[in-house]
Symmetry: D2
Subunit: 303 residues, 4 copies
């Protein structure tokens, strides 16, 4: 109805498709070389969406966010109650999902997710982020993330099960993890905070550990392509679930806005911690939601 | 509210997490070895969800299916109109997605998607697929798909831009592609049908090319782990958008139900066709939607 | 998160609640006096929202609009398949509705639905209509509509089953209906166009009959409080489903924007036509959707 | 796709449309005669659906229920950011609503909402309530409710601002209200509980006052057509938000299931309490959601 509607040709042409050039071809080949055991780990929490049950509230999420809803539009119960099969006997189930990724599930942020002033990352006008979606810096522009994952298991370093709400991860912690970080690497940072959910929502909502501004800058200086964490905001949160840093030190501002480093949040890193591998092939492919501010993802570590 | 609600512990424990054992560890290592160029291709169509514009109707989909809806819950337009920034100046965009994957976008089917009689694949009771989701054979049980992709570019073989609506792909075609298929491989089958969308919805809805029953059996005998196609139903469709085969020859029955071979449909394979690579690392990580009948995916080929 | 979030007190206080002062108290009493037979008619089409069936496409709607989706989150089929009852034996069904009212079902427009320039009706700044909803002129400000309905059955006047797509209803038609219109009345205008849906969507989408600009002005001059029609846009539509009039003559501009006369569209008026009553008590109570641009309604005629 | 899809003709024919014969024609005429002042009151709470703000959590609701979501698909902010007007200058806003009525907002229950055993109200088979909606006893069968409202202001009777969580309303209270109840009347029962929301969610969730089983039977014996309350479940709730009564004494079982008396819950009755009118014209018109288990409503009292 408005002038902005895309036409089919826009995405059909190879040269216009979103691509996040995370790594040189050589680096992608090298990342594939990290596959030594042949084991595959999902780094995602489940999406639990039952509407008429408290189940969705039992998965870690930020307070007040709209939880996923999952609906079955035809299911085995219908056939048990007498619905006829299709044709000679075919039966099927079908469903729908309603999801707001930020704060509710494992997801990757688009570069349009946060900014200050009137410009997104790299000077794109913020006014192009409208109700029809982000015409600039949407998640459809990110492309699949394929590269070398490097793991910073901070609780293991400190000898604790998980960090505490007020813990901040600085350059010293990152250095002490002894990881050889190369440009283009995917930095996977564990706080262990999702484990706190087992003590109830109030414990989880009491604040969150995360990177300090200096920690964020340390990663940015090493030119990582993506920072992925198991906390909700990469940086820490206070008990009101807000970042405490000023604008200059805000982790989203440092990484996403100034450096164009994508963020992935709310990962599940417990099996990876058990595996204790510091490098691996990391793949995360955000859904190509045109103009999306994020996508739910199921990131994969291939060990 | 009902007895079926899962608790957090169910997914937290490593040994209960969904895993699709597609391949032996050795085979995963071998698949990673297919990465020779270091190029990454997305094999997904875009998800175009604007509600107040005809944009969503411009992406290939089956007639009558509910199209994705994408909503911005705060965006740059709000700030242009005077919304105050957060704290010292942080601005953000946020959004929500409503999606029914089957027939509307690139997705992977769960094993619970189709069956006959009272049992799902492997004898699981179909009555466990209820409104709260599939307690058996849901997409959360599939786990990430990581393996060696093998490409059957049938239009290239036949020297056409795309197959026609009544074309069926049989064992001869698959043989003629000259692909060395190994157990656990991901078979990626191109028909070129999405290109027909450029001629309008009616052309796309006139039917669809796809695998014949014999073609499906040929793949099943080779023990592939996943069959991925750029058409909407792996098998062909008639002008009413239904499969013509009887129950014994239905492609979903052969592959999904009898053999437990997952299906991925509505991929975008045009760049892969240009690349003309017959083997590559294939990664598709369905969202861990508990009890889901499918997940939208952004499959990745690493060349 | 932003500054605009309402607090509970805003709607709790009696003097701040939305009220559409349609009529003087005396006129409401007089409208109640139109109840002579004691018969109640619903003037609404059904909301048909099944997702995994073509059912929703079988109800009149404008082409390309997202159709309603209705999901059962627990139902009788689940119990048939073995779900346990609550406590000593209570069973329940529960559901959810996704609805975009404009163009898909019987609804009432808010005053914020259309405007020109930078101001809504009555000079309210259009910039207050943002992603969190319309802070000005939202449907929550309309309040229930209770008044005297007056019926213009134009097909009956012209001796046809329904008007044709290019028919426009002018002052002469309205005059000829012989209705005694008083200030505050609800003008209910029948075209019969929903009957055309029986001939298929293409027939319905070929255009639509409706009020001419002069017809709209005739009603505005008589100071009606609401114009309700069984067509999709009060005015007529061409075959591209757009209004043909210039801005000055656009029916939404004349009625909604300049005069603040609410509009209700896509009513079902066939039983009212059979009843052949020209005045009655009309009640339509839009849902109090804060900041909504419309609400689905089930308007009632009490004869 | 399945055999149950309705066709358009089903609702088109006048004699098949849902109608709740609440009252004889004489009684509807008499109800209209209750309009003496000409004042109209909305008895609904607002639907507050902003997604990226905590606003929705600030309206009374039961814990754990999915709150409404309201999305603007085009708004004034877009135009402020540069979106072009349509044609010569038309601008518009459009939106969508996702709503699960039970426990989240003012709504009316369908007769299919609760049952015991295998039969709904009046012996309808519960197995006809499936994923496509309730084929029996859906909210589309209820029809508009138009009748004489009678008001039981129990807090006023007891001289308190609102009842306490453990208070139950029995026959004595109802008798003491001094209301002349006639067959077909709509019983509107005030507890004042929504006022407790001002003290925070935990206060509201500590339990709820409501009708006792004997109170419910007292109303059923008087053959009311609808019981409407400002609490969440007509009966009381304990601190786990469940009814404490056994199956025989459960208020939904007594009223909805055994007697076919519809229920409306979560009304806002504070202005009506101030008005102190004991009889009035009551109108509530549930949306004609085919197969719905409930509908959000905006009930109206015309004084």
């Amino acid at each position: 109805m408005l002038e902005e509607s895309n036409n089919w040709g826009r995405w059909g042409a190879a040269d216009e498709r979103g691509t996040l050039n995370l790594l040189s071809p050589e680096a992608v080949v090298a990342a594939a070389g990290c596959v030594r055991e042949g084991r595959t780990l999902s780094l995602s929490m489940p999406i639990r969406g039952a509407t008429s049950s408290p189940a969705p509230t039992t998965v870690p999420h930020l307070r007040g966010r709209p939880l996923p809803q999952h609906f079955m539009s035809v299911d085995g119960g219908d056939y048990a109650a007498g619905t006829r099969a299709i044709g000679a006997g075919l039966k099927m189930s079908d469903d729908a999902l309603v999801v707001t990724p930020h704060g509710t599930t494992t997801h990757m942020d688009a570069l349009c997710h946060m900014w200050s002033g009137d410009e997104l990352y790299n000077g794109h006008p913020a006014g192009r982020v409208r109700s029809y979606g982000a015409q600039r810096c949407g998640i459809d522009k990110a492309g699949p993330v394929v590269g070398r994952g490097v793991f910073f298991d901070v609780p293991a370093l400190r000898g604790v099960g998980h960090l505490s709400a007020t813990d901040r991860i600085g350059p010293d912690d990152l250095e002490a993890c002894g990881v050889d970080v190369r440009p283009g690497d995917i930095a996977v940072v564990r706080t262990g905070w999702p484990l706190v959910w087992q003590d109830g929502p109030d414990a989880y909502w009491a604040g969150q550990p995360g990177l300090s501004a200096a920690g964020g800058r340390w990663l940015a200086e090493r030119d990582v392509s993506l920072v992925a964490g198991d906390n909700a905001a990469i940086g820490g949160l206070n008990e009101r679930q807000l970042a405490d840093e000023g604008l200059a030190d805000d982790l989203h501002m440092i990484l996403l806005w100034r450096h164009g480093i994508h963020l992935a949040e709310m990962l599940w890193l417990e099996e990876l911690a058990v595996a204790a591998r510091t490098d691996f092939l990391f793949v995360a492919a955000p859904l190509r939601i045109e103009g999306g501010t994020a996508s739910p993802i199921n990131p994969v570590a291939v060990l």
